[in-house]
């Protein structure tokens, strides 16, 4: 008995739904929900994490990633312009920097900065303590990635824009600042926002530096909670806090990309 293609597609869809429902029901019935909750999301323990998880952990994570992002963005723009420079040594320095900080794990950069800097420059301290170190270490890594993104953005601005600006008598620098760079940033806004998401997650590397009560960020906070409560719930709560930052950002990226798609 041969089925028509439409009938066959229908049957196939029924089968897929049936399998899905069967698996979900099996999992739901076989799982010990009370036990799972007590291990992963004990409401009493979760409640004890407030308000510090927000007022300290979340706040510091936002602070670290935002300041590293700003620092990295500025440095990234400078590096991007150096990469496009007519002056050879500028290009070489920028390329070297980018290859170094893209090629080395962020964790290594963190450790090198935290332990290396005070030894290498005795008598000098990075201003802002942990905050300053995180800003710089995370910012350096972010800058390397953002530099390449921004460079691609600048090169994606049509050549005619620079020519039109120069024809009106603007200098190379003026045309860059007023005409090319603003357009480049509109092009790279979605990938830059993605970079902010990555930096937000990478700020968890502060964990290895051993932080004080005031400078603790989400992951360290969750890890401390894990120790004191002997329970995973604080870590799960912390994970949800990350999503609180990253999900809206990635929705934002998708919106921007959709809008850019329409404009084209």
């Amino acid at each position: 008995m041969a089925m028509s293609p439409r009938k066959r597609a229908q049957v196939s869809r029924y089968v897929q739904y049936t399998v899905l429902v069967a698996v979900v029901v099996a999992l739901a019935l076989s799982a010990d929900w009370a036990r799972l909750q007590s291990v992963f999301f004990d409401l009493d323990i979760v409640a004890r994490q407030f308000p510090d998880v927000i007022t300290v952990g979340l706040k510091n994570t936002v602070l670290y990633s935002a300041s590293a992002f700003v620092f990295g963005l500025v440095l990234g723009l400078v590096l991007a312009l150096m990469r496009l420079s007519q002056v050879g040594p500028y290009r070489w320095i920028a390329t070297g920097f980018i290859e170094l900080f893209r090629g080395v794990p962020a964790l290594v950069v963190f450790i090198a900065f935290y332990f290396g800097f005070p030894t290498a420059f005795p008598g000098y301290a990075i201003p802002g303590g942990t905050f300053g170190i995180v800003t710089i270490a995370l910012g350096l890594v972010g800058a390397a990635y953002m530099a390449e993104t921004i460079r691609a953005g600048i090169q994606a601005v049509p050549k005619g824009q620079m020519e039109a600006a120069r024809s009106l008598g603007m200098s190379q620098t003026r045309a860059m600042v007023s005409v090319v760079i603003p357009q480049a940033f509109r092009i790279v806004l979605p990938p830059l926002t993605n970079e902010l998401i990555l930096l937000t997650k990478d700020s968890s590397l502060v964990y290895v530096l051993g932080v004080s009560l005031a400078t603790v960020e989400l992951t360290s906070f969750g890890r401390q909670g894990l120790n004191t409560e002997n329970n995973l719930s604080p870590l799960i709560l912390v994970a949800l806090c990350y999503l609180l930052i990253t999900v809206p950002l990635s929705i934002l990226v998708r919106r921007m990309e959709a809008r850019a798609g329409r404009a084209r």
Partner: protein
């Protein structure tokens, strides 16, 4: 007229892109207040020549003078000279991130140092001239090609240039939009603006041009009164080109 300084003077200009010899010895003068149209097959070097005049392309050799000042001199203040030469591109090249008004005022403020109010007054005057006074808050993406090109002309005019260069200003336009742009250019010419126009619009060249230059293979093949050149071309290559486009 022959004693006064020409607006544009091109002296034995060569331009090579690697082995590709795009211009091989161009001599040309545009007198003040005149409209010179440059025609020729694609690849003849006419756009490159135009782009050499405001140094968007650096000639490989030869000299170009703008109102007597040598723009090809390595010590020339090129930015300053360029601000006196309006340029209109085939692809309009409006700044898409700026409103029409900001497109017209940006260079006035940053290059000419005009205040915001003065720049806006000048911009409005030129928007009116191109018939788009009501569009000052629009963004380029919301305008038709013809409107964008007229805005581009108004942007160039807002710098109060002494001369205008047009690089195939109507080639990227839908046929029904060409007329509006040509009308604006015609007005400009009748006001005495010095113009150098690379174009395929033979009607415009005949009607508005004071001088017609036919280029082919990187050289000026024939030059003269547009009605004569178009009506009775002397050179074989001119005849063959015109027989294809007219």
């Amino acid at each position: 007229m022959s004693t006064s300084t020409p607006a544009i003077k091109v002296e034995d200009v060569h331009k090579y892109f690697g082995d590709n010899k795009v211009l091989t010895g161009i001599d040309l003068e545009v007198a003040e207040g005149k409209v010179v149209c440059v025609i020729g097959p694609s690849g003849s070097g006419k756009s490159t020549l135009l782009r050499c005049v405001n140094l968007l392309e650096q000639p490989t050799s030869g000299k170009i003078f703008v109102e007597g000042a040598e723009i090809t001199d390595p010590d020339a203040d090129v930015d300053k000279l360029r601000s006196r030469i309006g340029m209109v591109f085939q692809q309009f090249n409006l700044f898409p991130h700026l409103s029409v008004m900001d497109n017209l005022t940006l260079a006035q403020r940053k290059v000419k140092g005009r205040g915001s109010d003065e720049a806006r007054t000048v911009a409005r005057k030129n928007l009116e001239k191109v018939g788009l006074a009501e569009r000052e808050t629009s963004y380029p993406a919301h305008l038709s090609g013809g409107q964008q090109q007229r805005i581009a002309i108004a942007r160039a005019l807002s710098m109060d240039p002494d001369m205008m260069l047009f690089d195939e200003p109507t080639s990227a336009l839908d046929p029904e939009l060409v007329g509006d742009v040509l009308a604006v250019m015609k007005d400009l010419a009748s006001e005495g603006m010095t113009m150098m126009v690379v174009t395929h619009e033979m009607g415009f060249a005949r009607e508005v041009g004071d001088d017609l230059v036919f280029m082919d293979g990187g050289v000026v093949v024939e030059q003269g009164d547009p009605r004569k050149v178009l009506g009775d071309p002397q050179h074989e290559r001119t005849k063959s080109f015109l027989s294809k486009v007219l």
